[in-house]
Amino acid sequence: MPMLKNARLQKSIFLFIVVAPAFAAYVLFTLYPNALSIYYSFLEWDGIGAKTFVGWDNYIRLFHDPFILRALGHNLILLVTVIPITLIISLVLADLLINRAFAENSFYKVLYFFPNVLSLVVIALVWSFIYDGTFGLLNGILRALGLGGEHNWLGSKGTALLSMIPLYVWCYAGFYVVIFMNAMRGIPKSLYESATLDGITHMQRFSKITLPLLSGVIRVGVIFLMLSVIKGFEYMFIMTQGGPGGATDVISLYMFNFAFGSLNLGQHIYGYASTIGMMIFVLLVGLKLILDKFFAKDSIEY
């Protein structure tokens, strides 16, 4: 018995040594700052001076702030476009690369993944050049085709937000191509072989076997894309500053401007920014729960 007790103690100590550093880092760098954000959301504070407790004022303001709704509307447009387009393109490309023995498969894989290794500033500059109203590549192509080519893509309220969609898809698709390719490789060949003997078409094979068996990976993909689209604002920050006329203002950019200011809004209002952060947190949790309703969580065993 003492030996067993000793073994249990050793196991506990071992687990503690293994888990404690990571847990401490998680508490220090994730949990603690998040808990502080809850506290900040009840304050009026510029980050330097005295903290003034304002109760629910910031939360009340949140519900009366017209810019919040506008920004969320823009996030919604990105959600309903970027996620499905990215997933469809990545699935199709992954399926082609897996099932078609192109000699250049490895090259394509690297090519699609390439945006993921580029600095986001580089990406923003490349796409700013593409959309430039005077010297832009897109206008150049349109001019060559005799289709105008004078449009100010990022400077027009009608097209600024829509112009961000191809950029997002270009950035994200390559990553999911690699993820989906690896997941497709895990599907047993025997399933496809028996289906082929039954005379299944390629389309049926994709929709009846591949897609259902990838549902878990797709679910994770949707969640990550959702997080990226709602939390991301870097491209708007660099390329449009949320303009023109607020046409590309998204919720995280709006929050960022309150917390850290931009060239024109150089104030720090950490209290209200934290309140917006709390709203984004609740929103993301809510969306995750909704997703769980639509996607079966059960893993599939082959």
Partner: protein, 434 residues
């Protein structure tokens, strides 16, 4: 004002230095000269293009020992409100070594530093370089076309725009992405007020009394800009354009003028074609040829001193800042960094005057030949309510559309005014000070 400086007082000044477009040769030379004269003073320098982030992190951490004694001045009203900064007003009463018997205050170009206009009756930031904003253009292009390089009135400026447009060139393009139009136009409210004899305007501006965005002066300025946009004098391409893109159009003569600051020559030196010669003008909004013309200026490089430091450190930090105002250091800043001289006796030396770059000369000539008021636009109170930022957001979001004639200014100004008035009403500090 005299301070007692004992050379046996050992002191190390911790400095947070911004590595900026002005380079750091001026600073290294200043440290060299200062430590030659005062070997008891040592410098512990942390230099970075992102020093502002480090300064704000250290300031927020609240560890006064770890904080810099002397640092690049990015933020100040928040620090002043929190009693974190040492006033530097007394430095302006001291005499630089190369101008004995003359107060620094009397040596600086009027308007480049005006302590009584500063926050809470004190100067908190020590100027190293001030920018001058306005309209920048290629002098050669203007000379070739016989265009007016120095319009004295608003009507003359509009005639200039018409002349440029008649040649198929956009008269004005600007970085709508960052609201660069402010560098040419945001002091025009003072000019209109001056012309209309509104003596109360400055006080109302400084203390947020009465309407701000919807003041008659503000509405007049935005209406004129909107009209210029509708006539195509301000190019629609400006919307969504950054400063590099807009400045490139001027370099390529697709547009004639671009609002910016005096750093533009340095900023575009790699891309400017041969023969391109930057010139400067302010945009007059008055129709009185005797002006005055209000010109945007502001601090583009400054230092602050942390209040919670030993008196000895603060005393030597101030002495060091004073030394930066010698014409020797100014010369390095002007010639190597492209800054405008802060000392008004700088041009007394013909050799120094001859060494200035074309744009620096153009600005200096403009300031000398025209009835110019350098306007800092300082407010005496600060609003901290989120509605203030929301009102700014309405303006920043929409100005490019207003200035290019695509949106009417008045509904936007009214929306912004409502939010601003909410902020004024709610901000207790504003109420107490009003």
């Amino acid at each position: 004002m005299r301070m007692d400086f004992q050379k046996n007082e050992k002191v190390t000044l911790k400095v947070g230095l911004l590595e900026s477009g002005y380079g750091r040769e001026w600073f290294d030379l200043a440290v060299k000269r200062f430590t030659e004269k005062y070997p008891n003073v040592q410098f512990d320098i942390t230099a970075s293009p992102k020093i502002g982030d480090l300064i704000s992190t250290k300031a927020s951490a609240g560890n006064d020992n770890d904080m810099f004694d002397l640092f690049y001045g990015a933020t100040w009203t928040e620090y002043v409100n929190a009693n974190k900064l040492e006033p530097v007003t007394d430095i302006f009463e001291m005499s630089p070594d190369d101008a004995p018997g003359r107060k620094l205050n009397d040596l600086i170009v009027p308007g480049f530093n005006d302590p009584e206009k500063y926050y809470k009756d004190n100067a908190w930031v020590f100027p190293i370089a001030n920018y001058v904003g306005g309209m920048f253009f290629d002098q050669k292009l203007f000379d070739e076309n016989g265009w007016n390089k120095n319009p004295k009135t608003y009507d003359e400026f509009i005639q200039l725009c018409e002349a440029i447009q008649s040649k198929g060139i956009d008269p004005i393009v600007y970085a709508g992405l960052y609201n660069y139009a402010q560098f040419a136009f945001d002091t025009k409210i003072f000019e209109i007020a001056d012309e209309r004899g509104n003596k109360q305007f400055r006080n109302d501006f400084e203390y947020y009394n009465g309407p701000q965005y919807t003041s008659p002066e503000s509405i007049e300025v935005y209406k004129r800009l909107h009209d210029m946009g509708k006539k195509g004098y301000i190019s629609k391409k400006s919307v969504g354009m950054n400063h590099t893109q807009s400045q490139m159009l001027v370099l390529q003569h697709k547009a004639a003028m671009v609002p910016s600051g005096d750093w533009i020559e340095n900023e575009m030196k790699e891309t400017a074609p041969d023969g391109f010669q930057w010139g400067y003008m302010a945009v007059p909004f008055t129709n009185n040829p005797n002006g005055p013309i209000y010109v945007t200026n502001g601090l583009s490089y400054s230092f602050e001193i942390w209040a919670a430091k030993p008196d000895l450190n603060k005393k030597w930090a101030k002495q060091f800042l004073l030394s930066l105002m010698s014409n020797e250091i100014q010369q390095v800043l002007v010639e190597k960094g492209g800054a405008l001289p802060l000392r008004k006796d700088y041009l007394d030396d013909q050799t120094r005057a001859d060494q200035m770059k074309p744009l620096q000369k153009s600005i200096a000539t403009y300031l000398k030949d025209n009835p110019v008021v350098l306007e800092l636009k300082n407010r005496k109170i600060e609003l901290t309510d989120p509605d203030n930022m929301a009102s700014l957001k309405v303006i920043v979001d929409n100005m490019a559309l207003v200035l290019t004639g695509q949106e009417d200014p008045e509904p936007i100004l009214e929306d912004a005014e409502k939010l601003l008035q909410n902020a004024i009403a709610k901000d207790k500090k504003a109420q107490n000070k009003a």
